[in-house]
């Protein structure tokens, strides 16, 4: 197993970068987990005109500049999608595909794309609903599964499932608009735009897994993570910053909140013993 970090930062945009730099400057061990930078909306932005000091820069350039300090401060990063978070009392476990990381606190900086779970999704998670084809695929060999492929790597994951012997019904972004996952003890079918497909499993592959599914019971406010002025979320040891806490979706606001979240996490860690 890996070391237990002081802080795991979920998200590598401006909020997560800012939180990482501040936490590291406070002497905390941190790990930043994020999707590939190229998949973020900011990375595609042509020019940012209101970020002080770096006016007119493209989103990609800005992200590169912001992460320059990572090497100097020895901040490790992991590229991947967080598929599960487990609170364990005084620590948290976070799974990223088939890997797992542990920390004493979490900073959620997962961006504006906070998907809503489909009906049945949270209830049937682990009972036919999966977020990771390479993790759970082998249990569906010879069975019929649906893949709701909304992430960039969804096609590869679907190919993996076909390759190990699953019968795959693939839904890309355009094939259906509404989904409902049905079943009682386990998944029985997927309803897509009113058409029912009998399946044994549904792989929901999004760039971001909904915070409400990752941390059941986490308080939300209008679809965003509810936080106080210290960026503390509703669970002890969990902080949030940036677009995932609500509008305005601005880089300056994200950077500021990331700074506050890291200082608050530092304060929280100072009060608890490892």
């Amino acid at each position: 197993m890996n070391e237990t970090y002081d802080i795991l930062i979920l998200g590598g945009g401006p909020a997560g970068i800012s939180a990482a730099l501040t936490a590291r400057a406070r002497g905390r061990s941190v790990l930043v987990i994020s999707n590939p930078a190229a998949t973020s909306a900011l990375h595609k932005a042509h020019a940012i005109d209101n970020y002080p000091g770096l006016v007119g820069m493209s989103g990609a350039e800005l992200l590169a500049r912001m992460t320059e300090g990572f090497a100097q401060l020895a901040i490790p990063t992991v590229t991947g999608r967080v598929t599960g978070v487990m609170p364990l009392g005084e620590s948290f476990m976070v799974s990223v595909g088939t890997d797992v990381y542990a920390a004493r606190s979490l900073i959620l900086a997962s961006g504006a794309a906070q998907p809503r779970a489909y009906p049945g999704e949270a209830e049937l998670l682990g009972r036919g609903v999966s977020y990771c084809a390479t993790c759970d695929g082998m249990f569906y060999r010879g069975k019929r599964v649906a893949v709701i492929g909304l992430s960039a790597d969804a096609r590869e994951e679907a190919d993996f499932l076909s390759g190990i012997g699953c019968e795959v019904e693939f839904f890309d972004r355009t094939r259906a608009k509404t989904y409902e996952i049905r079943g009682t003890e386990k998944v029985a079918s997927l309803v897509a735009d009113g058409v029912e497909y009998p399946v044994d499993g549904v792989f929901v592959l999004r760039d971001t897994v909904a915070s409400s599914v990752l941390l059941p019971g986490l308080a939300l406010d209008g679809g965003h993570i509810a936080v106080d002025r210290s960026m503390a979320a509703s669970m002890p040891g969990v902080f949030a910053c940036g677009d995932c806490t609500g509008r305005p979706y601005q880089i300056a606001k994200a950077v500021g909140e990331g700074n506050v979240a890291a200082l608050s996490a530092d304060g929280y860690l100072g009060k608890t013993k490892s």
Binding site: M1, G84, M86, L88, G89, M93, S95, V96, G97, T98, D99, V100, A102, G126, R127, G128, S130, C135, D136, M138, F139, Y140, K186, G201
Partner: protein, 100 residues
């Protein structure tokens, strides 16, 4: 109590009587690596419940028989019957609660 390595050859005999906790895992599964020491500690701390582990890579028949669809999955057996099943990492307190 020590932890038993369960296969299709000794599974039924092990769960047939009394209370048994079975941890379904695989070597490539990250969360399973966290679950394993928690299950070991549970086994060491008491003697009322037998504890076994099933490597789902090697024991696909058992994984299918018990409808394992994600790992780690813990199943509590009493006299051969399933009395509780939990998927995802389970802290120590929840393991104890499976036999209440």
């Amino acid at each position: 109590m020590s932890v038993l390595e369960l296969t299709k050859d000794n599974f039924d005999a092990t769960i047939a009587s009394g209370d048994t906790l079975v941890d379904f895992w695989a070597p490539w599964c990250g969360p399973c690596k966290m679950q394993s020491p928690i299950v070991d500690a549970f086994a060491a701390a008491q003697s009322a419940v037998k504890v076994g582990k099933v490597n789902t890579d090697e024991q696909m028949e058992l994984a299918q028989k018990y409808g394992i669809m994600a790992i780690p999955t813990l199943i509590a057996f009493r006299d051969g019957e399933v009395i509780a099943k939990k998927t995802g990492l389970s802290p120590a307190g929840e393991i104890e609660a499976m036999f209440k």
